[in-house]
Symmetry: C2
Subunit: 481 residues, 2 copies
């Protein structure tokens, strides 16, 4: 590999040297995202946005298949509405953006840009809902929200991000709980089937749950630096909002009742999680299901013999299978330069084909995830590539799962926890007393937080790993984004 060919690799800071810088290098040099001229805001470039579209398609299809419908609620929320649910305003007021003037006139009431839409949506639901016959309400919207953040990082934490927010109403608590679980399952599915990200699933503690909610379920993924990324949350809101917003309906007995309520959201943050789960010092490593380009074909000595003819054949065969394939026939770059560029961009499979390969009825096939190169017979190449893409998807998930498992450590006390944080950063599995004060101290002493109380509980002992009092739950503890 010549010096010039190597330039992409050299441009990315190794993750062992500076993990945050590595992340920034990867997402900016691959043209996924750029910094906007306003602090904390990002521009999602086509390569990054194409990943968001794959996430959207997957989730949107599942939502529609389960009877959910999309709609659109206003961007702006009057201050008085935001204040109706006490915990909610306390949680969100410090981070909203305020519109004070519209069309050169000062507004009578300040409007905030939605940080989330419970308040405006509940206002409308209160107007619409009349009878139990209309329930459940299963509505979702795709939109952008604004939360004024002090420290930001593209995709992970930005003052504006794109997301979906589902808001449902139900007759019974059981139905609402089932919806909350179903939506968490959809998030687990998009992580596994599209992003190849394994997650821990569980319930948030009282201090970490949604402002104004009753129960928050979460999925937590482990990044390559061992930190946790909260990647999607589904909230059972009980009747907190439906009472505060006076949403009532005539029930089966003809009495006025407040419905049960859920909300759930996942955002462009998932793209940050995707990068930090799989990528390496050469750049992005993308699972085929989210890769904007799944296969790149690079002709070698394209001017010779029947190279381009063969290349066009392969291209057409892959395309016909619905594979997203790109032919890189630029004549102003060397094959080596192209190899590096597409490796950096994380394209799962590269096919190289030149005169010698054609003589041998073969093509060289390179896997981005394992960096292995192998000769494939040209006969039935498209089918084999199709199978390979499926294999890569599964392999990447399994590799990430093994990494998460390896870096999850049982700890019995704070000494063990601190050693873990120092020597093997990742998730700690520990018993906890359930006390909010104790939880706050853990955070203060270590900056680590209780990520969740996993659904799959284990009994690791009877004492809280921090305060030593009687333990209530097994929890996952770790530093988080």
């Amino acid at each position: 590999m010549g010096k010039k060919d190597n330039q992409f690799v050299q441009e990315i800071t190794p993750m062992e040297v500076d993990f945050p810088q590595w992340y920034t290098d990867v997402i900016t040099k691959t043209d996924m995202v750029d910094y906007a001229p306003i602090k904390g805001f990002m521009v999602i470039k086509p390569y990054g946005y194409a990943m968001w579209e794959k996430i959207q398609n997957f989730l949107d299809n599942r939502y529609k298949a389960t009877g959910h419908k999309n709609c659109y609620f206003p961007l702006l929320i009057p201050e008085s509405l935001l204040q109706k649910e006490a915990d909610h305003i306390e949680g969100f007021a410090p981070e909203v953006a305020w519109v004070t003037h519209g069309g050169n006139k000062k507004l009578e009431e300040r409007l905030c840009i939605r940080p989330t839409s419970e308040t405006i949506i509940c206002t409308m639901y209160s107007k619409w809902l009349k009878s139990y016959r209309e329930l459940p309400y299963l509505y979702n919207q795709w939109c952008s929200v604004v939360r004024w953040e002090k420290t930001t990082r593209p995709f992970l934490r930005t003052s504006e991000f794109l997301w979906q927010e589902g808001h449902t109403l139900h007759e019974t608590k059981e139905e609402a709980m089932a919806e909350t679980v179903q939506q968490l399952n959809d998030y687990i599915a998009v992580c596994k089937d599209v992003l190849a990200i394994p997650v821990i699933t569980g319930q948030k503690s009282e201090s970490e749950k949604f402002a104004g909610g009753e129960i928050t379920y979460t999925i937590e993924a482990m990044m390559k630096d061992g930190k946790a990324l909260q990647s999607g949350t589904s909230h059972f809101l009980g009747k907190h909002f439906t009472e505060a917003f006076d949403i009532t309906y005539s029930d089966r007995e003809g009495n006025l009742a407040n419905p049960y309520h859920t909300s759930w959201g996942a955002s462009t943050r998932l793209i940050g999680g995707l990068v930090m789960t799989h990528s390496d010092n050469r750049g992005l490593v993308l699972p085929p299901k989210v890769a904007p380009i799944q296969v790149v074909i690079i002709p070698i000595a394209a001017q010779k013999g029947n190279v381009m003819e063969k290349v066009d054949e392969i291209y057409a065969a892959l395309k016909a299978r619905g594979i997203e394939v790109e032919l890189d026939d630029r004549d102003n770059y060397s094959p080596g330069w192209k190899f590096n560029e597409w490796e950096m961009k994380g394209v799962p499979v590269r096919i190289e084909i030149g005169p010698k390969d054609i003589e041998n009825d073969q093509a060289m096939v390179f896997r981005r995830d394992t960096l292995e190169k192998e000769a494939y017979a040209l006969e039935g190449l498209d089918e084999k590539i199709n199978t390979l893409l499926d294999t890569i998807q599964v392999d990447m998930y399994n590799k990430a799962k093994a990494f998460m498992d390896e870096n999850t450590t049982v700890v019995q006390n704070m000494d063990e926890f601190k050693v873990m944080l120092e020597e093997k950063p990742g998730f700690a599995k520990a018993m906890w007393c359930g006390d909010a004060e104790c939880e706050a101290q853990i955070k203060e002493e270590t900056t680590a937080t209780i990520r969740c109380m996993p659904f799959e509980q284990e009994n690791l002992g009877c004492k809280c790993f921090h305060c030593g009092k009687e333990a209530k739950n097994m929890v996952i503890v770790g530093k988080a984004y």
Copy 2:
């Protein structure tokens, strides 16, 4: 039809009595839209949003097929950026919403919510573009924008609306002009193939063109009250913005050059146009390609014999063809009540089937657009319904086209024009001098405006219909939304 069965029809104000009220009745009573608690803002309900999704799918597929890519630029734009192009700030400043506080702190610089994104996008393009090899830039975004409007009507003119905005850069003027035309053609196509709306296509006058642009192409549709609705615009922006924002690239000769620039947008306004082109006093009339529900099946005497068995068969056969079909098996409403509800909702085809129909191996098929009911043999029903949906799509377009043609009148002078406005409101075809002052007077005297200079010019005479001076162009003049 019993009194109760008729209640939907009675709820809609006849369009001859009060056209604006008719429009409001149709869009709100069919659950397309509702008023938000902030003046001028709307909530797009699932039935209306599903129409937007069909519009989006059609356009997005065309954009992708022609090499365009989606991306996302920030919601907020610093005041200083908005001011960089002089005509642009003059055009948009009076109608933007200003964010002055973020997270409890006063901002150093006011940020406006994007009324359109040329300024923020050009800022980024200026940072990105280096070489002619990267051109053309073919980017689009789907988002919401805010323009503080004084008089609003859901879909037609709202302070927030959803749209797409394409922003492209090109090496040559010819390429940029071709893009401008191509995008107008996409708007013509979505109007015809999805919404069954015929349009007049042409160029805006200097006073009506985009603030900061060079040439604006428009499509203008005729509503049932004879008024024009500007339904999509495509702008050739020349180098106005690329110079103001210092977007340069190294051209084929190695010199620094400013690229040519286009932008183009269509919005949820199209949904308002859809309603006012086709609907009637019973409610919505939807072309099949945009109808969220294309066929509704209503069982008659569902409890009898094998009615439900037959209904399920028909349902499954239609579904298998990809037709969006709904089975209305509610037992708390009479068939008559259901007929009215689905007519009001504009479902293109209704299938009624009861014991007698089954005896005769037939079903009754009702067309919403013509209000005709006909017996169809059950044999091959799904195929015939499929064909019928295509027929309805074409018939609705042709009917609307005939209406537009009938209500387009050649006028030679202001007297004729005023008679037309009074007696046969619609489009006037007239010769015009091209003078901005003359144009302003027409508006002042009649509130009508020059909608466009059609691409298909005719020579109707040599004098301006208003000032009598030498005419330059044939124009379409009319009152507009």
